[in-house]
């Protein structure tokens, strides 16, 4: 059987989650490897969530928030942006392939963009193969 | 033609599969045909061609060759339809069915047999250079890509030499291709022969790879656009006009000759302008020439008129009254210019032809910007023109 990656998405309620809903409403097709957790704001995302996801066997993690400057909570995603940039560095430092972690700003009107990013990211993870670096075998 | 038709969707499907996917987007608003320079003067109608393609209808054989792929319609299309892809696909589907017009058969035949459209001897491709100029070797900065037209067409070998001299004067590290290359295939692709195009492209790519070519200079905007759009390889391509503009600005080339009030206008080649978005470099050059008065034609830059030479037009015979190059020369003369400058060997060929048939040899000269730069550097290519002609 071909490798079917597991991708964890964490999306903010106001932009990316709504954008993902819009992708559905407009019946855009994208691979089903992504499973999205909804949080209210991308700033809610604690870096430990991301490390934990990789431990749990996620092959890729995709974070989605509002475009910088358009945060529903004014400045939340600006904090998220900085924090996630550092998270990415730590991941890379600890040997994770950089391609497995991605942060995207997708607004509520960008259903197209959501589908496109998921398609792209899934392909990328598929090429990278299973993630073993952090995974804790059950 | 019968008035009753049934849509033939298999044909439409074939066109889409040949790259004309954009057929689906068109809503027939007529912006393309209203913009197309051919609509007012010929029976070619680009909107109709697309419409026939959408329904897979017959009856386009006699006008599908009219498009010169000038890209004016594509730039204006409100639906973002890549109309040239549709034209190419339609021609591909039809020429596969043996519908190639007579005039283009020689062109395709020569490309197939000799790797250039001018029926030139492939071994004499570099004869124009008279062994004066270096052949590319690994480690050089630039490959100076000599378009078939500047290698074989007697008028345009002057352009090849001018370019080579300028490259030397600017102190560039460059070489021309060996005999292991063939035509870039740009016009051939637009004529619809995708298979032969791939063959030509593969041979060139092999050469580029073997020689480790990373930067290419072209004099023909057609080669430029083809390398850029159709080759999909990671080398840098630049048109000589861009480099000359830069060198003049940097002081590497210093125009000296006073042209004494010569009035020059500039025709944007479609493949340099709309296809490659180079509008300023040739103008900057002309404005830097001492004693040149630069004037614009009404249709310039993004709105420039086509000469008719693209998309196979150079090899197709057009009746008097149906030649864009004639209209363009008239427009140029209307500005009071005595020199029509351009930056494309196809445009030069078209205009030289029109100049003769319009009988305006005395009133206007056709010059490539490169030739004017060389003249301003007070260098002349003293060999008699036509010497290197191998046709």
């Amino acid at each position: 059987m071909s490798f079917e990656p597991k991708i964890l998405g964490i999306a903010c309620n106001w932009c990316t989650y709504t954008g993902a809903d819009l992708a559905g409403t407009t019946r855009l097709q994208y691979p089903q490897n992504i499973r999205v957790v909804r949080v209210m704001c991308s700033s809610r995302i604690n870096p430990s969530f991301i490390f934990r996801a990789f431990q749990l066997g996620a092959d890729g993690v995709l974070i989605g928030g509002c475009h910088p400057g358009d945060c529903h909570y004014n400045t939340g995603n600006l904090y998220a942006r900085r924090r996630l940039a550092v998270t990415k560095k730590i991941l890379e430092f600890s040997g994770m392939e950089p391609g497995r972690f991605r942060v995207e700003w997708i607004s509520a009107s960008e259903g197209n963009r959501f589908a496109e990013v998921v398609r792209e990211f899934t392909e990328q993870i598929r090429d990278l193969g299973p993630q073993t670096k952090f995974k804790i075998s059950q | 033609m019968s008035q009753t038709v049934t849509p033939y969707l298999e044909m439409s499907q074939a066109i889409m599969e040949a790259g004309g996917e954009a057929l689906k987007k068109c809503y027939q608003c007529g912006t393309c045909s209203g913009t197309c320079p051919w609509t007012p003067i010929t029976h070619f109608n680009i909107r109709k061609l697309v419409r026939y393609g959408q329904l897979g209808l017959d009856g386009i054989e006699d006008f599908m060759w009219g498009c010169s792929t000038c890209r004016f319609c594509v730039e204006r299309c409100p639906r973002g339809v890549e109309i040239i892809d549709i034209v190419t696909a339609i021609r591909n589907v039809y020429s596969g069915g043996g519908m190639l017009p007579q005039s283009l058969r020689a062109f395709v035949g020569s490309l197939s047999a000799r790797g250039n459209p001018w029926s030139g001897d492939p071994d004499r491709r570099n004869d124009w250079a008279k062994e004066k100029y270096p052949v590319y070797a690994p480690g050089m900065d630039y490959l100076f890509w000599t378009c078939c037209t500047v290698c074989y067409d007697p008028r345009n070998t002057r352009l090849a030499k001018a370019a080579a001299e300028i490259l030397n004067l600017a102190g560039a590290s460059w070489g021309m291709p060996s005999l292991d290359v063939n035509c870039c295939g740009e016009s051939l692709r637009k004529v619809g022969d995708a298979e032969l195009f791939e063959r030509l492209k593969a041979k060139n790519l092999d050469y580029f790879k073997a020689q480790g070519v990373s930067k290419i200079i072209t004099v023909s905007p057609h080669c430029l656009a083809s390398f850029d759009e159709d080759y999909g390889a990671d080398f840098e391509v630049v048109h000589l006009s861009e480099l000359m503009a830069k060198w003049i600005q940097e002081g590497k080339l210093v125009p000296k000759k006073d042209f004494g009030g010569l009035t020059v206008t500039y025709h944007d080649p479609c493949y340099l302008g709309r296809h490659s978005k180079v509008y300023d470099a040739p103008r900057d050059i002309l404005k830097a020439l001492p004693g040149v008065t630069f004037v614009e034609m009404e249709r310039n830059s993004e709105e420039s008129m086509c000469c008719g030479g693209g998309g196979g037009g150079l090899w197709t015979e057009k009746a008097k009254g149906e030649r864009l190059s004639d209209l363009r020369i008239e427009e140029a003369m209307g500005t009071g210019a005595t020199v029509l400058a351009t930056a494309c060997p196809y445009c030069i060929t078209m205009f030289e032809d029109s100049k003769r048939t319009l009988n305006v040899d005395e009133q206007i000269q056709i010059r490539d910007v490169t030739e004017l730069v060389l003249e301003s550097l007070e260098i002349s290519i003293d060999e008699p023109v036509g010497d290197a002609c191998a046709v």
């Binding site: 992708a23 924090r83 | 608003c29 007529g30 209203g34």
Partner: protein, 649 residues
């Protein structure tokens, strides 16, 4: 041990087509703590809701999972079911298997597998959910309306008539908006001013409306029910409390400014009222045009003003108002068509945009209602070009919706006011609206020529240099048309106001790709926004005609009323709280919160959170080093448990 009920919705075939719903319910039954799992055709229907309510009682459920559409769609519906069954409404979890599963795949195996994973995550999370108590707050009963066009006017009047106090903020010196610029309105051709000015006057007279012209909202604080809005009153240099609108000043003023009202076609005075029916009828000074401000002397207006109302020292002032709800109705601009060089707008004097032509028809306009060109001559032939910049991927892809109809109106008025031949260059005629097709038929019979082909180019005529030539293909005959005309009217794309981005930022609105404000749901919540308590009406949402705009204004007023009619409002309980035992007193939370909700309690030496200010984003929770802050309903444990569940399959 919790007792979880899982309810899988088919949504007709919307879900059932690409997710095997009964298999999903069977799967749910195998998950820990799940005591009942069912699937049903329409879970949101009354029988569906009753089924959930019954099962809560029968199986003594303490957690409910509804596996259906997006939580943004029906979370509130199902929360009510829980509340009615005596279960805390926050013990509900929604699994989104429609928008994010069944609608985005064609493959039933993939769909089912993903649905299972999502459901597994929801079960894990549900076990950790805690009951929460909603906060109840007092509601301010006043409403702010931003924008004094027809939408804002109508919304303000409706609300004021119910007895609510309304602040109507308008950035220009008069209300009326674009509608006040029009001469006639389609398809009835009734006079725009005749139907609008009485409404403008009612606004001014209404005891419940505080009209704030030359004003802009500069800051928005607070939340639904309790907004604090700071409004900047721009300096008018005329004290309107003293001015008695004699307008002697405008007669004497030597300054010249560009008349925005007449779309720049004429000059106006530096101290001016924009047009005779302006509301309020009191002048303002245009600083950039005023001789005194430019050269330091003049003050003629001051000399003639018997009321001593002129005040060159006036500064911008700021006031803060408290309101419970907001209606944003900021309207539109026309695209600047100078960038479309092929149409020659701004280059040839004979090329006009639609709003300029509206002013030419208007008897209060620059020509007194006569259709003349800039050189004073009457045009002999006129071309109206549709879809300029709209329905155009290179500019704006959307249809501007009203251009077909106003172009027909123009044609009629040209026929009425001139002897010119009138041509319409169109792609498709769109006449969907009450009486619109009939209007189209009427104009056809008025001998207007319709050319089916988009205008491709406007150029100067080679033969007659003072005329223009329109080039296009008549796609019906396939002929290339070169039409000599004297006047070209462009129907440009209708686009959001230039400052729409700023307004969106102030009120936390989302915008679509063109910059129009986004509604909460395209069908079912067209006037609500993602910001609770902020509503939108009119063209700021998308291009629309006057009847639709007015209808939206009524709707937005009703929406605002549903908030301000109440004394108390229940707010989401999903706020953050501090566990004082773990707090390390670093005060990160205090520094990052955009709302100032966390504060440091010096006596206790720990941070605390003012829940009235907290909006529940969870930012503080993720910057808290010892995880002392708990983001209710999105706690670390809950999120991690959900992730674990999602990644298990």
């Amino acid at each position: 041990m919790s007792r979880i009920g899982v309810f899988v919705c088919h949504c007709g075939l919307n879900i059932a087509k690409t997710v095997r719903v009964s298999e999903l319910a069977e799967f749910a039954a195998t998950l820990p703590d799940v005591v009942v799992a069912k699937d049903y055709k329409f879970m949101c229907s009354t029988p569906g809701q009753e089924m959930i309510a019954n099962d809560i009682k029968e199986h003594r459920l303490d957690r409910v999972i509804v596996t259906a559409c997006s939580p943004l769609m029906h979370e509130q519906t199902f929360r009510k079911v829980l509340a009615a069954s005596g279960l805390n409404q926050y013990l509900l979890s929604i699994v989104n298997i429609r928008e994010q599963v069944s609608w985005v795949t064609h493959d039933i195996d993939e769909g089912t597998a993903k649905a299972k994973a999502l459901l597994n995550g929801a079960v894990r999370r549900a076990r950790l959910l805690a009951p929460l108590t909603s906060r109840v707050i007092d509601v301010n009963s006043d409403v702010l309306v931003v924008g004094g066009g027809i939408a804002g006017i109508q919304a303000a009047l409706e609300l004021a008539n119910t007895g609510k106090k309304v602040y109507l903020v308008e950035k220009n010196s008069t209300i009326g908006g674009h509608m006040a610029q029009f001469d006639k309105t389609f398809p009835t051709l009734d006079c725009s001013a005749c139907i609008l000015t009485p409404k403008m006057d009612s606004v001014l007279q209404h005891k419940n409306i505080q009209l704030m012209t030359s004003c802009e909202v500069s800051e928005v604080k607070g939340f639904v029910g309790n907004f604090d809005i700071t409004i900047r009153q721009k300096a008018r240099y005329v004290d309107h409390t003293k001015c008695n609108a004699c307008l002697a000043c405008t007669e004497k003023c030597p300054g010249k400014g560009v008349s925005e009202w007449d779309e720049g076609l004429v000059k106006r005075k530096a101290i001016y009222i924009p047009f005779p029916q302006a509301v309020p009828q009191k002048p303002v000074i245009d600083r950039d045009a005023c001789t005194f401000f430019k050269k330091g002397k003049c003050r003629l207006c001051e000399k003639v003003c018997e009321q001593k109302a002129i005040d060159f020292e006036q500064q911008d002032t700021f006031t803060t108002v408290k309101v419970g709800a907001v209606i944003v109705a900021t309207g539109y601009d026309l695209m600047d068509t100078r960038s479309l060089i092929q149409y020659g707008y701004g280059k040839y004097p004979g090329v006009y945009n639609a709003l300029e032509v509206e002013r030419l028809f208007n008897s209060a306009g620059p020509t007194g209602g006569k259709v003349t060109l800039r050189d004073g001559k009457e045009p002999q032939a006129i071309a109206i070009l549709h879809c300029i910049g709209s329905r155009d991927k290179n500019n704006y892809e959307h249809c501007s919706r009203v251009c077909c109809m106003y172009s027909l109106k123009f044609a009629h008025l040209f026929k009425e006011k001139t002897s010119a031949d009138v041509y319409q260059f169109y792609i498709d005629m769109r006449a969907a609206g009450k009486g619109y097709e009939e209007f189209y038929n009427r104009i056809i019979e008025e001998d207007v020529k319709f050319i089916r082909g988009k205008g491709a180019r406007v150029a100067q005529s080679a033969d007659e240099p003072d005329r223009l030539v329109v080039e296009a293909e008549d796609t019906i005959t396939g002929k290339f048309i070169k039409l000599p005309v004297d006047m070209v009217v462009l129907s440009p794309a209708i686009i959001p106001r230039g400052d729409a981005k700023d307004v969106a930022r102030l009120f936390n609105l989302s915008t679509d790709k063109y910059g129009f404000f986004m509604e909460r749901h395209p069908k079912l919540a067209p006037l609500s926004t993602m910001s609770e308590g902020v509503f939108i009406a009119g063209v700021c949402q998308s291009p629309k005609d006057i009847p639709d705009t007015v209808a939206q204004a009524y709707g937005a007023a009703a929406e605002a009323l549903t908030i301000v009619v109440k004394d108390k409002l229940e707010l989401e309980a999903t706020t953050a709280m501090v566990n004082p035992a773990s707090c390390c007193a670093c005060q990160n939370c205090v520094r990052v919160c955009p709302y100032g909700a966390p504060f440091f309690n010096e006596t206790k030496g720990v941070s605390e959170i003012n829940e009235a200010l907290c909006k529940g984003c969870g930012l503080c929770a993720s910057v808290c080093p010892p995880s002392a802050i708990i983001a209710r309903h999105f706690t670390n444990d809950q999120v991690l448990a959900e992730m674990e569940g999602l990644l298990e399959f």
